[in-house]
């Protein structure tokens, strides 16, 4: 077995598996491969130690509390949405009611003519002026 074959075999090796005689022979003869194997072993041990780290005992409580908080947030946002919808509906209804009432109290044709006469500036003023003029002439 040469170094390249050794490295391939090392990468294929599962922890606890028997690597075979050739592998062990090469390992004992080649210091570089021996170091590589030992360092790889150290790294995998490090990973195994890392994986043994335990989670905080309060994590489940934290998760459940967070879920409650989220549920409450959803409840509040639904409540708020209902409130906003109710206020919007009230405003729309109020506006429509005002329009309806205004329509009911809308002036008749005669009222319109009169209001036009009083507020329409020139037309009424002209009649009035003519009138005044006539009455002055008569005098």
């Amino acid at each position: 077995m040469n170094c390249v074959e050794f490295e391939i075999q090392l990468a294929k090796l599962k922890s606890g598996a028997n690597p075979g005689v050739e592998f062990l022979e090469h390992k004992s003869q080649c210091p570089k491969c021996m170091e590589l194997a030992s360092r790889a072993d150290e790294l995998y041990h490090f990973i195994a130690d890392d994986a043994k780290k335990t989670v905080s005992p309060f994590l489940s409580t934290r998760i459940m509390a967070e879920l409650d908080k989220k549920a409450l947030e959803v409840h509040i946002s639904i409540q708020k949405a209902w409130q906003i919808a109710a206020v919007s509906l009230a405003l729309i209804a109020g506006f429509n009611l005002a329009l309806f009432m205004d329509y009911r109290q809308s002036p008749t044709d005669a009222d319109s003519v009169l209001s036009e006469y009083f507020f329409a500036g020139n037309a009424g003023m002209e009649i009035e002026n003519n009138w005044l003029k006539l009455s002055t002439d008569e005098e």
Partner: protein, 203 residues
């Protein structure tokens, strides 16, 4: 057996029994935490992310259709969440030119100085090696090394074939060895980083 009880609990949760979800959290929190540690190499972030994964899973539990085991579904969420977290961290680092909090991580138990330095060195090497891996290789490596899942289980989670898992794992281990070899070479060279680092305490 676990799968059956999982299904019963999931049904309960789907019907609105939130307390039942606590059983699932208790059952899987350690496993998900280990997966997160593998991806993030940081205990604090791993714990926060574990919490996020469980909340996400609870919110999406309605979409779980029992086509796979609950654990498979949960692992899928955790792998995707970890990958997304790493992506976001990468973008943040690029935007703010931040070097990250890699060296500020907590190790939980206080260790003797020599042991801590050695572990820090190992972690640095592991991080370098993990960075060398492609995304799929990293997923497979972490699931098999940190969670010690079988190739079949890993294949189910990642929705690939067992052969692909085997091949990805082999390539990942080859890259790991490559990083170790590079480290060995830099250690031999007098100007190597490792050499300098080791020489520091002795002046």
């Amino acid at each position: 057996m676990t799968e059956n009880t999982d299904a019963i609990i999931v049904e309960k949760v789907k019907k609105g029994d939130k307390e039942a979800y606590r059983h699932l959290v208790m059952r899987y929190q350690q496993k998900l935490f280990q997966t997160c540690i593998g991806f993030l190499q940081n205990e604090t972030d791993a714990e926060d992310l574990t919490q996020e994964i469980f909340i996400k899973a609870y919110q999406k539990i309605e979409s779980f259709r029992f086509q796979a085991a609950f654990s498979t579904w949960l692992y899928r969420i955790s792998v995707n969440t970890c990958v997304n977290f790493l992506r976001k961290q990468k973008v943040k680092r690029l935007l703010f030119l931040d070097s990250g909090n890699q060296s500020k991580e907590s190790f939980g138990v206080s260790e003797p100085a020599d042991s801590a330095t050695e572990r820090e060195e190992q972690r640095r090497m592991l991080r370098t090696a993990l960075k060398e891996l492609t995304l799929m290789q990293r997923k497979v490596f972490i699931l098999s090394q940190y969670r010690e899942l079988s190739n079949k289980e890993t294949a189910e989670i990642l929705e690939i074939t067992e052969k692909a898992v085997e091949s990805l794992l082999f390539r990942a281990r080859v890259k790991m060895q490559k990083v170790i070899k590079e480290k060995m070479n830099s250690n031999i060279a007098p100007t190597g980083r490792y050499q300098q680092h080791r020489a520091e305490p002795y002046g």
